[in-house]
């Protein structure tokens, strides 16, 4: 695996091309993709790729840059989906407003979760966030007002009306998701080149040292969590607008948490383009193994993804793409670029 990556990078040194050129080079040609999508299945896969680019970027902020391994992002995703859905279904509030409310509410949920759990480090943080998701799942299942275990269905009669953000043509969904993916990628790019990104990486590499240097680890983690949750909430709202059906199982099952983590990890943690690579690899594999292996219930695709996770964690714990230094000449010869994140290797 790593051999192939090295071979490709020897021919085209992607790391030396500025991100400012690479991002448009990826996104602008992608606009033409629906023209080539002859089947509904392919277009559907592309839409999910774009949605999961955004979700992967969301996790990338907190997991890739700040190094906090959150297993609770499905909570913010589900909060977003329910907010957009309920505002539209119960109160006829257009999703264009609803998505913004979703993002803000999810950010609030994320900040509460962060305020509770950021005192914990490493796997203690992971366990606490995992418990939060499982707890939210139980609560959402029992909460009758939001549909309980049955879930809520969108009023299909409103498809195509101008304020409903429900389209009869899948291509329009593609462009909506494209905007979401591009927006989140630019957000992470902005983070990458800003001081905030460097602070977060510093916290990831050595929290004590960062605090000694005057960086308030708690508040910067909260900042990252707020941004990350805002994006996850909007992603949840868009997901609800696309599948037109919200229920706790599809929004909060364990797999959702894994997907958030899997995509940046496959592509490369703490990199701007990592989640794009990860989403393409992951979603295409997921959708096509689903059809080849006959339904999700068989679970064989999850056995494969489990093995992929094990292989990645053993052989390339920092993802397929190497981290690039934040600013041209900083850190090219330091330990960081050689070994990637070193969180928790030598501390207590």
């Amino acid at each position: 695996m790593s051999g192939a990556v090295k071979f490709v990078s020897r021919i085209v040194d992607l790391q030396s091309i500025p991100l400012l050129y690479l991002i448009p080079a990826i996104f602008i040609p992608a606009l033409a993709l629906p023209q080539f999508a002859t089947t509904y299945f392919f277009l559907n896969t592309l839409i999910y790729v774009l949605l999961f680019v955004g979700l992967g970027q969301s996790w990338n902020i907190i997991g890739g840059y700040a190094g906090q391994i959150s297993l609770g992002h499905a909570v913010m995703f589900a909060s977003g989906a329910y907010t957009t859905g309920i505002l539209f279904i119960y109160y006829d509030i257009t999703p264009y407003v609803g998505l913004l409310v979703s993002g803000l509410l999810a950010a609030a949920v994320g900040l509460i979760l962060g305020a509770l759990t950021f005192r914990l480090r490493y796997h203690y943080f992971s366990i606490a966030t995992l418990a939060a998701t499982l707890g939210a799942y139980v609560v959402f299942l029992q909460w009758d007002w939001i549909g309980g275990a049955v879930g809520l269905e969108y009023p299909l009669s409103q498809i195509g009306s101008s304020f409903s953000l429900m389209f009869s043509s899948r291509e329009l969904y593609f462009y909506v998701m494209w905007v979401f993916a591009l927006g989140t990628t630019l957000l992470v790019y902005q983070l990458h080149i800003s001081k905030l990104g460097i602070y977060l990486k510093a916290i990831d590499i050595d929290q004590e040292l960062a605090e000694n240097a005057g960086i308030s680890a708690f508040w910067y983690k909260m900042y990252a969590m707020g941004l990350s949750s805002f994006v996850a909430g909007i992603g949840g709202g868009l997901f609800a607008q696309y599948v037109l059906f919200i229920e706790p199982r599809i929004l909060l099952e364990l797999i959702r948490n894994v997907e958030f983590v899997l995509i940046p990890v496959i592509g490369g943690l703490g990199t701007v383009l990592g989640p794009i690579v990860g989403a393409v690899v992951y979603i295409f594999t997921r959708e096509y193994t689903r059809t080849l292996l006959g339904g999700t219930q068989t679970g064989l695709s999850w056995v494969i993804f489990g093995m992929v996770l094990i292989l990645i964690s053993v052989y390339r714990p920092n993802g397929l793409i190497e981290r690039r230094p934040a600013i041209g000449n900083i850190g090219t010869d330091t330990e960081e670029t050689k070994s990637g994140i070193e969180s928790g290797a030598d501390d207590d």
Partner: protein
Amino acid sequence: MVLPIFGAVVDGVLIGLAYGLVAAGLGLIWGVMDIVNFAHGEHMLIAMYVTLLASANFNISPIILLPVNAALMFVVGYGTYAIIIKKTMDGPVLGQVLCTFGLLLTIRYGIIYFAGPSTRTINNFVVAGSTTAYGISVSYPAVLTAIVSLLTIGLLYFILQRSSVGKAIRATAQDKQAAQVMGINTNRIYATSWGIGLAATGIAGTMIATHFPIQPNATPGIWTIASFAAVALGGLGSIFGAVIGGVVIGLVQNIGASLLDPSYQQLYVYIVLIVALLYQREGILNWVSDQ
């Protein structure tokens, strides 16, 4: 007059001892090498399914399967460390979390793929039925599970305190470098800890399979979280801490279900887990490990 809460207390203590055994296995691995096994419940699921299939297809009694499953899970644990976990030991925490999460997915969905996602129960157990004393109904399999768990916990304590392997494990947990200087092969000790930790789930899984319905999608998660909570309550590196933590979790679950809304039974455990993690530094039950 008997309040329903007394029945809940009895049930809570009985299941809590099994939680304690599983948690002791998790806590051993966690305490010795600072790795959290997110797939702990899934490992237990392996033993449960071996018990289910052996009893359904070959009519083998679960009691005979106890040593078989313990040995099987020891080998699984030893192999898991030697083949996979060892390679992530020097890497970032993320690698370790992903690794055991990968194991979780592989085992859970592997079992679902081969055995189906339906809920299973076992029927031909040697001990069956229940008795009613002072108005409290107690089922024999639950009592037997608690007794087997207690005996195994005692054995675990004996191994760690008295045997040379146990002493080496404790030495490695205290100071890896010093243990290496003393000629202890720490890699073998880590692998052995994984073996012992999972053998505990093998025994608990066999016993639990005899009287609990097993649902491959839900059961492992419940056990993993319950043992996380028990270890967080009881403090790391203390078997009795984990056991007391396990009993507390069993009580919280059952008393919560009988006094409050039973459909939120798991939620109480999650809340206890988060609170226990947050106040862990101060140590809710840390006095146990000091003794």
